[in-house]
Symmetry: C2
Subunit: 233 residues, 2 copies
Amino acid sequence: MPARSLDRSLIRGLDIFASMQEDDLEAVLEGASARQVPAGTPVFEQGAEAREFFLLLHGHLKVVQTTPDGQQVVVRHVNPGDIYGIAKALRRTDYPATSIAVVDSLTLAWPSSRWDPLVARNPVLATNALQTVGQRLQDAHARIRELSTEEVERRVAHAVLRLVQQAGRKTEEGVLIDFPVTRQDIAEMTGTTLHTVSRVMSAWEAKGLVASGRKRIVVLDPHRLVALADAAE
Amino acid sequence: MPARSLDRSLIRGLDIFASMQEDDLEAVLEGASARQVPAGTPVFEQGAEAREFFLLLHGHLKVVQTTPDGQQVVVRHVNPGDIYGIAKALRRTDYPATSIAVVDSLTLAWPSSRWDPLVARNPVLATNALQTVGQRLQDAHARIRELSTEEVERRVAHAVLRLVQQAGRKTEEGVLIDFPVTRQDIAEMTGTTLHTVSRVMSAWEAKGLVASGRKRIVVLDPHRLVALADAAE
DNA sequence: CGGTGCCTTGAGAATTGTCAACCGCTGTGG
DNA sequence: CCACAGCGGTTGACAATTCTCAAGGCACCG
């Protein structure tokens, strides 16, 4: 499906296209195609040749690295409006990770070969991409800091709060994380095991901090969870 | 000290200035000043206003984040030719970490305000910076993967090998890491304690893998160390 | 030659992982 | 429509890794 026919309101106002001319934006979209991604389906896979780069319009993806011995690590989540899979811009020929839809999603895709001409015509694109990647680098450093210095409970608290920020939806009960998340997912985000995550969250449940069930997490008392994440004890 | 007087051979051939015109390069250097940084001295400090960005000409820096409770994490090392402290390009007003010289070093510095005009005149700069930051993001993800899935000994092995790659110098004995590194430094790179690092390296010493002493590490058998880092024992 | 900084090593404790068993949804096919 | 398979979750017991606390030694600098 060509992207021209897309609702412009989806596109305008995305960070990556900030301060671009109307007709330049049209030209950018010219080269894109839109694609439906059912939940559980990969958009691209680790090690595959990086033929395309992407922009998420709707839904949620997780980006996962798999170690040689099969363990998985969730590198980050992709939210609507994010660009991803821009391996070519980083001078890589293959994707360093796999991206999988966690809910039914809609993405734009451009051929990787389009990146250089696009940037040539719209230098602001490189600047915006630099800011985006820079933000991700800082997020990554924050996670390194957490993994290095915090114990499991605080890491899990940070991970849950990050999910709340990215996909929190207010309900009567509290803040619901608006896509399916398993204990295993949280474990892969925090460098621990699903068993430990389960124990931690059971304890929180007993204290009235969260309510959770199958693939579902509701934060009942964000304030106390923040306190737990930030301070010791 | 103005940068104009610098030896051009130091500058030419740096990744960040790849495919720039001669006179553009001159203009870039116009705005820079050179600065001597004695070992142990910070170039900039975490939380300070980001007035400048930098390029390392000679020496080695470590980039450190300090947690609220005083623990330190080594985020990365800066090698000659690297740009660093480009907080403004990432739309930050302050530095997210402290950078400290580990040996006497020489750096160029530009006022942060110069970044935007420089990029406007030399769009390739943004592209090159994007690649650099992209590479760092991948390095950071690799570390996240290690911290999440590997146990201490392998993490330390990876850290030492990374140092070898960045600053290894062949000697008769083996490969010397060419700047002072303490057990504490390695601990801050791998998310463990100096005690555990000391034990691990003592064991390696006994097996003839490395020779190490005060602030000094020589890898005697890189091949076996790689094997240790990659495979599960 | 004294002091400070870096390194080593031991003993015991704490966190977290491993192994195992079991529960209860959920959704699918007969 | 019901039964059942399979996935996700929970919990206990135990083991292992790693940290904490403590003491002491050695090398380098002033």
